[in-house]
């Protein structure tokens, strides 16, 4: 569906028998790549093959399951970023909402004794409200979401910090730990529940984006907000929803992350900002052409996880990882996300 404007076959027919300009092989490859993330799949296969060949333990059940869990957590944390990037923004409050989810679930189910279900409900409402407020402010006052989500992130994490006095004492409910234990199984399937949750979320996102009015309106808002307004799409509602979903998804990821880590702390969410952005972009998101899908982000999350595993196994430090992925993002953006020329706007 999200094909490129380059394929102008019908226009050519319209121009009364004119010949299509010849495409070079390179152009055809670029075109194909934009429609389908071929390169990403090749990179993933190559990385997996390299790992298998160079490391004995790479494909053992424990390491495969661990990689799947890490990819699931990253993929879920990058869900909100995918939508934020799609509408042409960015969400830097994701770490704060991960902390919100993980702190609240440990604090109010533990020391405060609130039942788990109610606790989750409270978290969803809080996160949805704060995230939605970000989207509303950014749209209403046309302030870049970078600034708004930065402020909202500080506000949320600041309140948590003040409330817990920087001392989070509770531990994750055992139920959450079970979701992310490498050797847990799901309904008899030999994969941890978090992986199944991730896949289910992936399917839901695909349906929402492609087969609902909201999804269509979301792409319309992303590609041409002015035309969307004139086509009676409530673009502000779309923005509010996008940032609310982002916050809720991040908070829910926070539940899983704290289950995985055992205890919460104020910096639990920090790595997911950079990694989530990397997953979205490495997956090949191209906001200007509307080629942003959650399944691309899922692919990006898997690539990120496998490459990180290889780098760590190869003795590279966290610093090296950051440099590598920073450069990788720059390369990926060069292929997808470039902006229109000034001369096309004269």
């Amino acid at each position: 569906m999200m094909t490129q404007p380059d394929s102008q076959s019908t226009a050519a027919r319209d121009m009364e028998g004119q010949q299509l300009p010849q495409r070079t092989l390179w152009q055809s490859v670029v075109l194909l790549q934009r429609q389908f993330p071929l390169l990403q799949i090749l990179v993933l296969i190559a990385a997996l093959a390299y790992g298998t060949l160079t490391m004995d333990s790479f494909l053992n059940p424990f390491s495969v399951r661990t990689m799947l869990i890490l990819a699931s957590l990253l993929g879920l944390a990058a869900l909100g970023q995918t939508l934020a990037i799609l509408v042409g923004g960015i969400d830097v409050s994701i770490p704060a909402f991960i902390v919100l989810g993980s702190t609240l679930i440990t604090q109010i189910t533990g020391p405060e004794g609130v039942p788990l279900g109610l606790a989750i409900l409270v978290i969803i409402v809080l996160a949805g409200f704060c995230g939605g407020l970000s989207g509303w402010i950014a749209h209403k006052y046309s302030i870049h979401p970078l600034i708004v989500t930065l402020a909202m992130g500080s506000l949320v994490s600041g309140v948590l910090l003040g409330w817990t006095n920087a001392n989070i004492t509770g531990v994750a409910p055992p139920f959450l730990g079970a979701l992310t234990r490498p050797f847990a199984s799901t309904f008899g399937l030999p994969v941890p529940p978090v992986v199944i949750i991730w896949l289910a979320v992936g399917v839901i996102m695909a349906v929402v984006l492609k087969r609902t009015v909201f999804g269509r309106q979301l792409y319309a808002t992303a590609l041409n907000p002015r035309a969307a307004d004139l086509a009676l799409v409530r673009t502000r509602f779309i923005w509010v929803t996008v940032f609310a979903i982002s916050a809720i998804a991040s908070a829910m990821t926070g539940l899983l992350v704290v289950g995985f880590a055992g205890t919460a702390n104020a910096t639990l969410g920090d790595p997911y900002l950079f990694q989530g952005l990397a997953a979205v972009i490495l997956g090949g998101a191209a906001p200007l052409t509307g080629a942003v899908d959650y399944w691309r982000t899922m692919l990006g999350a898997m690539i990120f996880t496998v490459l990180s595993t290889l780098l760590v196994a190869g003795g590279f430090t966290e610093a090296d990882k950051q440099i590598t992925f920073g450069l990788l993002i720059l390369v990926a953006v060069g292929v997808y996300g470039r902006e229109p020329r000034v001369k096309d706007r004269v």
């Binding site: 102008q8 076959s9 300009p21 609902t212 002015r226 969307a228």
Partner: protein, 530 residues
């Protein structure tokens, strides 16, 4: 198409073809600019196919052609915005190297005023007039010189010099346009290109501009003039080159360039872009659909009262930016300073407070700019069509694209939309078919009142005829159409009434018997003539 061009040429023996080699030598020495075989494509769209012309020193040379004939692309090629795919440009007999920026074009003595009013809003008048004259760091002109020259040039153009330090966005549209013309005049280029640059000017300023152009001509400086206003063309041009579908059709001398001849050349012989006279609405029904009560577009302006009957077709005319669009948007539930919009149907009367309510009551607004206001270029034809009416294709919360497809097929047939694949991006369609998609989008909502913002702008003659036909059909079955058009001929042929707007008010309402080219155009400039 090549056939038609050849026909046109053979049937017009007196047309002097451009780029002739058998000119007398003295004549050729007078050439300042010559373009040969210029071509430029965007993707599969050939905006410019094979365009040749020459510009003599001291002449005002007009390029005429329909919307979409490639005039703007030609201007952008000469201005260095676009690099031509093939063809050559000579200046004073020297072949130009490829120009890749307006800066290089300016260095070569070509100064261009572009179609859109191009000023930097928050910056001062002085800064806007001198924009681009400095280096990145180097100040080339001192403050006194800047003020003196800007004052002189603006005085020539406006008669009254505006405050040079005021932000240019506080000026009127006409004065802003004058600032961008002043910017080009200041550099005193050998070739001045004016691309529809007079459309926003008031009459007095335009007359002063023409005086300046004549004075320039006496000094041997040339002008390449582009305007769709026939009266301007015949007033100022020494020669006229007509282009169609990106090619040169021919060049006429002043004496030969009668409006009738020009129109014939512009449109070709097979299809006329001239709207056929629409049958006047039978006044039997008298059913009022839409009513505007004391709408003021800006605080303190004369309130507008308007009743729109079923089957009626009303034209909104006026100079660019005098409130036509604001009125049309207001009728569609947009923001006004005061007043209200009522919609009548089957004895019920509803107040329309916003765009969503307007749509609910059967008012559809079709915006002017396809690319920026209506289309989602990377999305499919089907998605573009179905967006506002998606609810119809929803069952159990999910979309069923097969249903949109069915709805689309019916309308596509009725509107004669030509497409290969409804799932291909809408950007693969031609401009005319894109315009029809936008129309189809709103017709699918089954409107009672259709608000059209200059729907024939930039579409080819075929599509125009299709649209005229469609409008006839729609008004016949009782739809009311209110339409902005920048072409006086459309008003004359199609409308039951024309409202001429001036300064955010309705200056004159003309019914069929009062409508004439003179009465409409003079009302643009605040004159009442029959």
């Amino acid at each position: 198409m090549t056939m038609n061009v050849a026909d046109a040429r053979s049937s017009e023996p007196r047309i002097s073809t451009t780029g002739k080699t058998d000119k007398p030598a003295s004549d050729r020495e007078m050439l300042v600019l010559r373009g040969q075989g210029l071509a430029k494509s965007f993707g599969a769209t050939k905006a410019l196919r094979d365009f040749s012309f020459d510009l003599r020193s001291g002449e005002v040379h007009t390029i005429q052609g329909e919307n979409g004939s490639g005039k703007s692309t030609l201007v952008k090629v000469l201005a260095g915005v676009h690099t031509p795919d093939s063809g050559t440009i000579e200046i004073d007999g020297h072949l130009l190297k490829q120009m890749s920026s307006p800066f290089q074009s300016l260095q070569n003595g070509i100064g261009t005023v572009f179609q859109e009013v191009l000023v930097v809003g928050p910056q001062s008048v002085l800064q806007n007039v001198w924009l681009g004259s400095d280096g990145l760091f180097k100040v080339r002109y001192g403050h006194e010189e800047r003020v003196a020259k800007a004052t002189a040039v603006l005085n020539d153009l406006l008669g009254l010099v505006p405050d040079l330090e005021a932000p240019v966005e506080t000026l009127s549209l006409s004065d802003r346009q004058a600032c961008s013309i002043a910017r080009a005049l200041l550099r005193d280029p050998a070739v001045l290109i004016l691309d529809e640059a007079t459309s926003a000017l008031d009459v007095a300023t335009r007359d002063r501009l023409f005086d300046i152009l004549r004075t320039r001509a006496e000094r041997g400086k040339s002008v390449l003039f582009i305007s769709h206003r026939m009266d301007e063309v015949t007033e100022i041009s020494d020669r006229v080159t007509v282009m169609r579908l990106g090619e040169t059709v021919g060049t006429l001398n002043r004496a030969e360039a009668t409006p009738a001849r020009l129109v014939q050349l512009m449109t070709g012989s097979d299809v006329s872009s001239e709207p056929r006279k629409r049958a006047a609405t039978k006044s039997k029904t008298q059913r009022v659909l839409l009513e505007a009560r004391s709408i003021a577009l800006l605080p303190g302006r004369q309130p507008i009262n308007l009743t729109v009957q079923a089957g009626e077709m009303i034209g909104l005319a006026g100079l660019e930016g005098h409130g036509q669009e604001a009125l049309l948007r207001a009728l569609g539930g947009g923001v006004t300073s005061s007043g209200e919009i009522m919609m009548h149907s089957q004895g019920n009367t509803a107040v329309v407070r916003n765009e969503t309510e307007a749509s609910k009551h059967g008012i559809a607004y079709v915006p002017r700019e396809r690319k920026t206001e209506a289309l989602f270029l990377p999305l499919s034809v089907l998605d573009n069509f179905a967006l506002p009416t998606l609810k119809q294709d929803t069952k159990g919360g999910l979309l069923w694209p097969a249903q949109s497809r069915k709805r689309f097929f019916d309308l596509a047939k009725r509107l004669g939309i030509r497409y290969n694949d409804a799932d291909a991006p809408v950007s693969t369609l031609s401009g005319g078919n894109q315009q029809k998609i936008v129309m189809a989008r709103w017709l699918a909502a089954d409107p009672k009142v259709l608000l059209l913002n200059d729907p024939t702008r930039g579409v080819d003659a075929h599509t125009k005829q299709d649209l005229y036909h469609l409008l006839q059909e729609l008004t016949d079955i009782g739809l009311a159409v209110i339409m902005i058009s920048s072409e006086v001929d459309e008003h004359l042929a199609l409308m039951d009434r024309v409202l001429v707007m001036r300064d955010q008010e309705i200056f004159r309402e003309l019914n069929r018997s009062e409508m004439s080219r003179t009465s409409i155009v003079s009302a643009f400039f605040g004159k009442v003539e029959q």
